[in-house]
């Protein structure tokens, strides 16, 4: 039974979040990640490209608490502008 379940689990596979590129439009990814995070369905496997890589790196290097702290428009605005 355990064997069967293990195989079923492997066949079901995992879920990955893929963030695309898109210059300043990639900022939408922050919102997407926040939406997923608040609902508790943020996948553990992230992939990012270009602007998505920035968001991916942001999420990938932070623990849940840090994401909750940093993922606000005010904090991001401070960091995105120069």
């Amino acid at each position: 039974m355990e064997q069967v379940l293990r195989r079923a689990r492997a066949a079901y596979g995992r879920t990955g979040l893929c963030l695309s590129g898109g210059a300043a439009m990639g900022t939408y990814h922050f919102g997407i990640v926040k939406g997923l995070f608040d609902q508790g369905i943020l996948p553990h496997i992230l992939s990012g490209t270009s602007a998505g890589a920035v968001v991916g790196a942001f999420v990938g290097t932070r623990t849940d608490e840090e994401i909750e702290r940093d993922l606000t428009p005010e904090t991001l605005e401070l960091r995105l502008k120069r």
Binding site: T15, G16, G21, M25, H29, I45, T49, R82
Partner: protein, 436 residues
Amino acid sequence: MRGSEEREERSNDNGSPISLQKRTYSSSLRSSPSLRSSRILQSILTTLARRFAPRPLLARSFGKGWIDLLTNLYMQGTLFENEYWMQQIAWFAGGDMTFAEAYKKTGRILCITLSAVTKKAPPVLLNYVTAPNVTIGSAVCASAAVPGFVKAMRLRIKDENGKVHMQEENKDQLYFDGSIDQDIPTAGLAEMFNCQFFLAAQANPHIVPFLYNSKGDVGRPSRWSVGSREDSWRGGYLLAALELYLKYDMKAKFNFLGDLEAAVGFTGTLMTQNNWGTTTGGRAENQTTMVPQVAFQDYFKLISDPKLNDLYRYMRGGQIAAYEKTAFMKTHYSIAHTLNECLAKLTKDPSNVPAEAIHNRAVIRRKRSIGRPLPTPTILGSPQAAFTFSGVGGYKKIEENGEMDNGDNEVEAKYATPSLVKRTPSENNLMKGQRK
């Protein structure tokens, strides 16, 4: 006297066109004349910008004035400098954290796609397995290096002593924008981490307008003209047909140009790599795409720093796009988590329990204490199963030494018979219920 001098100079100039030509072809072209002309260019641009440019054009773009950018473009062939970007990105990428460190810290598997500069080289997927000691910041910068904006760049490596240095000189190891070759690396993720389902977020300005979903999408049902059905044609049959025809036609032409290598520069693969041109709008069987509702003004702000009110708009748009898929994803996860829970109960060896089952509980407990309302567990009956809802994707069974799934899982995935994947009747009902 003066007149004769001038005449002499003139005759000299006229008399030596060959030497002049030689000078232009020599390497000295790059140094002094270009410097001088760039200075002239800069002064002209400054005056022009002051006099004629409308206000928004003078606005600073990604922290730099337009004049700086154009000078940089003239001198180096790109709008931005690598070093500048590295500093900007540092906060987002956790300083000089490497992939392995990030994985150890957060347990999240981060992958970043890059394209190699050499032709015919396949796109690269960096993560803690393929590039454990590469700093994330440099990978992000390289991934954002769109030709013309930022130069292709070398990755940075952190050695055992914690010192960061460049990768060795080798032309093959320059990397640039990953979205040119491969925007959504489904194949790579499936191969490395056994990802069978992809939640894609699409915000590419050149693709977003075409993800129209003429028959509706997950979380975005189409009830055009037929109130009861959820997959009627948006905009009516004829208009939907016209939209599809134009889209397929355009896509065919892009494919043709791409295969002929007749497209300009890197644009050849830009429009052909994603399956945006289909009825389902980029939704393959194992993929659902989140597309934020972009505003028209976004296209004018593509290379500028977002203001605070823009950021609120971006966050809101993104969150709405994510909420559309929430129910769908929860159903998807519920099956995975149920399997995990069952496995955890059956397994006698506690070290063999899937880590995510434990992790989920921790997340839920934390969220409870914060006071955020939990998603109501209506789908599965038992309260214990409800726990599995909040979720963390994928089967995370990773030992401390940094190994991913032990090999037999991958093998099993390969040899698992299709019948194993089939859902039980109760799960089938569950899925149907969710769709309604």
